[in-house]
């Protein structure tokens, strides 16, 4: 009797669950979530041991970096890696599906997490830590990683919320009045964006009856009625464009990114908007592979205007941090351009640009953080004489100036060439022109910043800048920056592996057959499906 019941259960399990045990390597897929979750809860539990928080966070990020590196190599070698949470057949359970783009972004995330944790470990006071800075950091990283790795649209929403609330926590550290003002703007506008994401997901479920990306890719072409799904597509693109801070709905970013602590700004600049861009990749690739021409054109114009508006905003600023905020926006425009072109090369350019932008913007924020620590000033007109003060800082900053402007031989060059090629090959000459113009304007903005703050001698200002050069010799602050700058240079000099990953990622985004197959093959075997 009991045996029969057990047999029944086994039979039912065979129908509802994946039968093969996951390889140990498949666990790499979930580690970017589990490790920081455990670390974050550990940090909060150890509230009394504030001194250990930073070490725990750095260790976690380092471990994640190793795992993510292994994951990327695995993906590059074996193709898409899948893990079915709870062992349930997709699309019924939640799956993590990792392709080259996801793995690449997750790796970049953990590296940036490590650098910022390192910097923060030497920059933050004990009270900030006590209120959970590193826990927020861990949660932010897990949210971002989850967003990069998940294969389920509602789960993506959840990760968006995780990273959002973590960013809410981070943005308020610092104890300045303007932070609260900035945080209000940031919070309200971002809340609207994620809520729109949620409702679009509800509609999507109502139309298709499924939430799994791969399954959606199969179901949507069969739909009888295109109007609702196009609306949902428009809503998605809108919500993600807002998260990505694209014009005209990205005002929240320049309105708030300059207010938090610099190390927080560094994290945000590196990670947050890219999640929006990544979501656009996914949705574009799997859910709405052939969007309405109007949507595509809109996206194209949005991307171009975002580039220009962003960089013009950067030129107009005096506050160095605000300049960087606008540059983040401008970079988003470049990535969106790649998406809007809708070609494999476009996606490749966008992926390359995203990785570059993540590293460079984080590094720039950290460098500005060092500068502010040393000078206690934030306005370009109030800072000068840095060139003489530290050659190390000069090299670092100048490298970043050239990188962010897209000049070779640094990380910004390759994405620009790739995007340029993508634009030119589909005869979008104007887009190519705007892309190049943006690069030029960026070099103007950053070149002026360099001239004003570095070259201009300290004596040139009425209030001569007081520079505490000890900050520049503090390895705790300079080494993380140097690490990122080393990556910027390495990406410029040895971009091949990045191209390999981006090529594989972009071809997967254009033709997601492998993604779909990897996700649903097991289900098809059991239930009978397209691949049978």
């Amino acid at each position: 009797m009991a045996g029969e019941a057990t047999k029944d259960i086994e039979a039912l399990k065979a129908l509802s669950m994946i039968q093969d045990s996951p390889l140990l390597g498949d666990w790499l897929v979930i580690m970017p979530i589990v490790i920081p979750f455990l670390a974050a809860s550990g940090i909060v539990m150890m509230r009394q041991r504030v001194d250990r928080h930073a070490e725990l966070a750095m260790g976690t990020c380092l471990l994640m970096t190793l795992f993510n590196l292994a994951l990327l190599l695995k993906v590059l070698r074996e193709g898409v890696v899948v893990m079915e949470m709870g062992n349930w057949l997709p699309p019924f359970g939640i799956v993590f599906v990792v392709d080259a783009v996801g793995a690449l972004f997750a790796l970049t995330t953990s590296v940036l997490g490590f650098a910022t944790a390192w910097y923060a470990a030497n920059d933050l006071d004990m009270r900030t830590r006590r209120y959970g800075f590193f826990a927020f950091l861990m949660m932010l990283i897990s949210g971002v990683s989850g967003a990069f790795l998940t294969g389920d649209v509602f789960n993506l929403y959840v990760w968006f919320e995780v990273l959002l609330i973590a960013s809410f926590g981070l943005i308020i550290f610092g104890g300045e009045r303007e932070q609260l003002d900035g945080a209000v703007r940031y919070a309200i506008l971002n809340l609207i964006a994620t809520t729109l994401f949620l409702i679009a997901t509800g509609f999507l479920y109502g139309i298709t009856g499924t939430l799994n990306f791969a399954d959606l890719a199969r179901v949507i072409p069969e739909l009888p009625d295109s109007a609702p799904i196009e609306t949902v597509g428009a809503l998605y693109i809108f919500a993600f464009a807002m998260k990505a801070a694209a014009f005209p709905v990205g005002s929240w970013l320049p309105a708030s990114y300059h207010t938090p602590k610099l190390v927080v700004g560094a994290l945000f600049a590196g990670l947050l908007t890219k999640v929006g861009v990544y979501a656009i990749f996914r949705v574009n690739s799997l859910v709405f592979p052939t969007p309405d021409e109007a949507i595509r054109l809109t996206l194209l114009w949005v991307s171009l205007i975002t580039m220009i508006v962003g960089v013009l905003g950067a030129i107009a600023q005096n506050d160095m941090r605000r300049t960087l905020g606008f540059l983040v926006v401008s970079g988003i425009g470049s990535m969106l351009l790649g998406v809007a072109l809708g070609t494999e090369n476009g996606f490749r350019g966008a992926v390359l640009y995203a990785v570059h932008s993540m590293v460079v913007m984080t590094a720039l924020y950290l460098v500005v953080g060092v500068i502010q620590r040393a000078t206690n000033q934030r306005l370009m007109t109030e800072i000068s004489g840095l060139y003489r003060a530290s050659s190390m800082l000069s090299i670092v900053f100048l490298t970043l100036v050239f990188a962010v402007s897209g000049l070779p031989p640094f990380s910004g060059f390759w994405p620009k060439v790739a995007l340029l090629e993508a634009a030119i090959e589909v005869d979008e000459g104007f887009a190519a022109f705007i892309l190049l113009l943006t690069g030029l304007l960026t070099s103007i903005a950053m070149g002026r910043m360099w001239a004003h703050t570095f070259w201009k001698p300290a004596e040139a200002l009425a209030n001569q800048t007081v520079i505490s050069t000890s900050v520049f010799r503090d390895p705790g602050r300079m080494l993380p920056v140097a690490l990122l700058v080393a990556i910027v240079i390495a990406l410029g000099l040895f971009p091949n592996w990045l191209f390999v990953a981006a090529n594989q990622g972009a071809s997967g985004l254009i033709d997601p057959a492998a993604y779909i197959e990897a996700t649903l093959a097991g289900t098809d075997r059991i239930m009978g499906g397209p691949s049978q």
Partner: protein
Amino acid sequence: MNTVILRTIAPFLTSLMVIFSIFVLLRGHNEPGGGFIGGLIAASSVAIYGIACGVAPVRRAMVFHPISIAASGLFIAALSGVASLFAGVPYLTGLWYFPNLVEGVKIAISSPLFFDIGVWLVVVGSISSIALALEERELD
């Protein structure tokens, strides 16, 4: 609030609500309820206790800082999924164990149960810590 009536009745209500919340938690897998709802009920009870008797007694009663309790919940929940690593199944796969305590009395120990307990702890801890912090803020 400094009234005899509320102060007298609040501890009683609190204990009642905590019991109810645990009941709702444990029963959630089969009937309406579960970790969230249970947690919200328990958090409500903490709020009542706090309003009636003040924050300090609540903090003493909870022993640990509520946010640490919440963190332990997240820890438990995240860890409950890792158990499946050793069972050779993917993350968060439900693992079930039905020991016979007394003859005929079957209870179920399962990873989803621990997961739900984690949910309960997180909700209780987190909401209590917000409420208590706001309550303390009132006084300063």
